[in-house]
Symmetry: C2
């Protein structure tokens, strides 16, 4: 792989009622270009990851919006793959740089979710599931609850094990000034929160969030020419894979094959396996999702990923910390932005710039972004130069 | 350029109340693969162009839907650039093949528009314009009416000249069994139809349409290996360019710079100019748009593109026929499908398979797809082997 990340930026995540979609998109885009030290006309392609703006804000055509607000050079377009839109945008940018199409791309993930009522946002999010699932009255919590029930029945995990994921991620989020939730919670808090779809309770769920994130992807060649190579973070793997849209069309509810396949591709490109990964940002839209993820990514054997959630191993200071940003659970989940934010967090860590949540000596980080219940999955491997 | 089109398919366009989004997408995808003689597992990437399905059908995440219904190999994802979504999807597939990332891609453009009320669809379409334009109460007919007024004032074109575009495209559409409207109209019909936004009347406007189209893009190398090269259609140019989202941010209302830039790129790749083009499918969402297009594409000097509309030059049998499919006006405009359908039409013509609307001896065709009022433009040049 010959592409590197030279700029990264995340806006505050939260209920940002005083800013709009264009403000968030612009702040993130400028932020990443400024961080990289590149100007708008040096950008040769801009990819925007977004799921909901057409429905929620009434704004599509974000490529042309970028042209108007940021004035970046080259083509601009939007890609959409539900909650993996951001990760897919990064993947497409990396693919274009790797193939030699371009030398410098801007990727922006953005979502504005909190300005509409809960029915609009719930129905909007269900666009990531199948018509049959929507017709059956399932919400996304309901779909992941089915996966959680199957997992708990098959492997003996309990509600407390799931709760540990949320507790850990809130602990991490308390150190992240960009996070939506910056307060720690306890296992009891989770267990005593309202049931949304059994066994998932309110505090097993990621929130509804506004926010944006952006990165500048560059070829090593151009980065070297511009004196940016030494400080850049290398992209050593980028895998994108898909699965059926609906759970009913799959043979197992306790694994996500697209995650496994995307990870396999990324590890093959990197030339190493999961043991080399020092830290990861994984897709914890619900607590069960993080447990499935750490197994499907090869960190733990199937059926054992829940055991480590409470023992410190995946917590700051542990062997391989997971979701130091706070994850989707505590940092927030502006769906189109999440996959880009994960890359921003890993870049921040590999630059030793993560402050109180810094992992000492981190050299290799992984990001894992999922669309829907796994219809799309994207895995990136990033390494310190 | 080293990519070719080996398969092409268009569904019927129209008010298709008995089929849904997934039906259209699947029919088009299978149709193109069957036409090419390739199986789903030979596809290495699937790109779906769509603008409105999240808002109108409640269905996003079309990449995963494709995985479920068609089971194509490799990554699948959706790209969106308003009414240029289909053209951008073709461009991205060609770019991936040109760069050597993949050897075989399926591109599907799809839109389901007629199952909702007119306010929903009008508001959905306005997502392709800016917030300020929406806030000012403008519709897309209103925006193009501003461009028409500027053009008519600047160059002396009259309502009759605009009407000739619709008359010609309805004439062409009468020969196309896939077209939404298959009846000829007269200049008087157009002039006596209701004013929607002065000077544009009902018959100056393209309709609201359901439909899908798909193509299989392949590397010459793989096509040769599979014995498909001789019968394939070469992609000799593929340009994508962008402009500001809003009209107010531009210096001229009588030209679309993104069209000019996309055409310039495509001609440079092809190594020839507009004089070599035998026929074209251009973006006639409103009659004024076709007049601007034939000028911005270099077929006619600025301010003269309206003169030829009634004299037979751009009609079947003329020097360089435009919109033989019937264009957006008569074939219909399922927005995400249009850019792909244009490629299907040119492929059909270059294969000498266009029946009663066949252009004799056609060797080079051009497609031109616009998003919004020009925030995105895509130009493809296709040539007979």
């Amino acid at each position: 792989m010959t592409s590197v990340i030279v700029g990264a930026y995340q806006t505050k995540f939260g209920e940002l009622w005083d800013v709009g979609l264009a403000d968030l998109l612009t702040e993130a885009g400028w932020g990443a270009m400024k961080d990289a030290g590149v100007s708008a006309d040096e950008i040769e392609m801009t990819l925007v990851g977004n799921k909901l703006s057409g429905k929620v804000v009434g704004q599509d055509h974000l490529g042309a919006l970028v042209k108007e607000t940021l004035g970046t050079g080259g083509p601009t377009l939007r890609v959409e793959a539900a909650c993996a839109s951001g990760g897919v945008a990064v993947h497409q940018a990396v693919a274009a740089v790797e193939a030699g199409q371009i030398d410098c791309a801007l990727v922006i993930g953005v979502e504005k979710m909190t300005d509409v009522d809960v029915d609009t946002i719930t129905w909007g999010l269900m666009g990531a599931a199948s018509a049959a699932e929507r017709g059956a009255g399932l919400s996304f919590v309901g779909l992941y609850a089915l996966m959680a029930q199957a997992y708990m029945g098959e492997y003996g995990a309990g509600a407390k094990d799931l709760a540990q994921v949320a507790v850990k991620n809130h602990f991490h989020g308390s150190f992240n000034e960009k996070a939506q939730f910056r307060f720690p919670i306890t296992v009891e808090d989770v267990l005593h929160s309202s049931i949304v779809a059994n066994p998932l309770k309110l505090l097993d769920c990621s929130p509804i969030t506004d926010g944006a994130a952006a990165v500048v992807v560059m070829s090593q060649k151009l980065a070297a020419k511009k004196g940016l190579l030494t400080s850049s973070i290398r992209v050593v793997g980028s895998g994108l894979a898909n699965e059926t849209l609906s759970l009913a069309a799959r043979t197992s509810l306790t694994q996500i094959k697209s995650t496994q396949e995307a990870a396999k591709k990324a590890y093959a490109q990197a030339g190493f396996g999961p043991d080399m990964v020092d830290l990861a940002e994984v897709h914890d839209c619900f607590t069960i999702a993080e447990i499935l993820a750490v197994e499907d990514l090869g960190f733990y054997k199937k059926g054992t990923g829940y055991v480590v959630q409470g023992n410190g191993e995946v917590r700051l200071g542990g062997k391989r910390p997971i979701n130091l940003s706070g994850g989707l659970k505590a940092c927030g989940h502006p769906v189109g932005a999440t996959g880009v934010k994960q890359v921003v967090e890993i870049v921040t860590q590999l630059r030793d710039s993560a402050g109180k949540r810094q992992v000492t000596g981190a050299r290799v980080g992984l990001t894992h972004n999922v669309g829907g219940t796994g219809g799309t999955a994207v895995v990136h491997l990033l390494a310190k130069n």
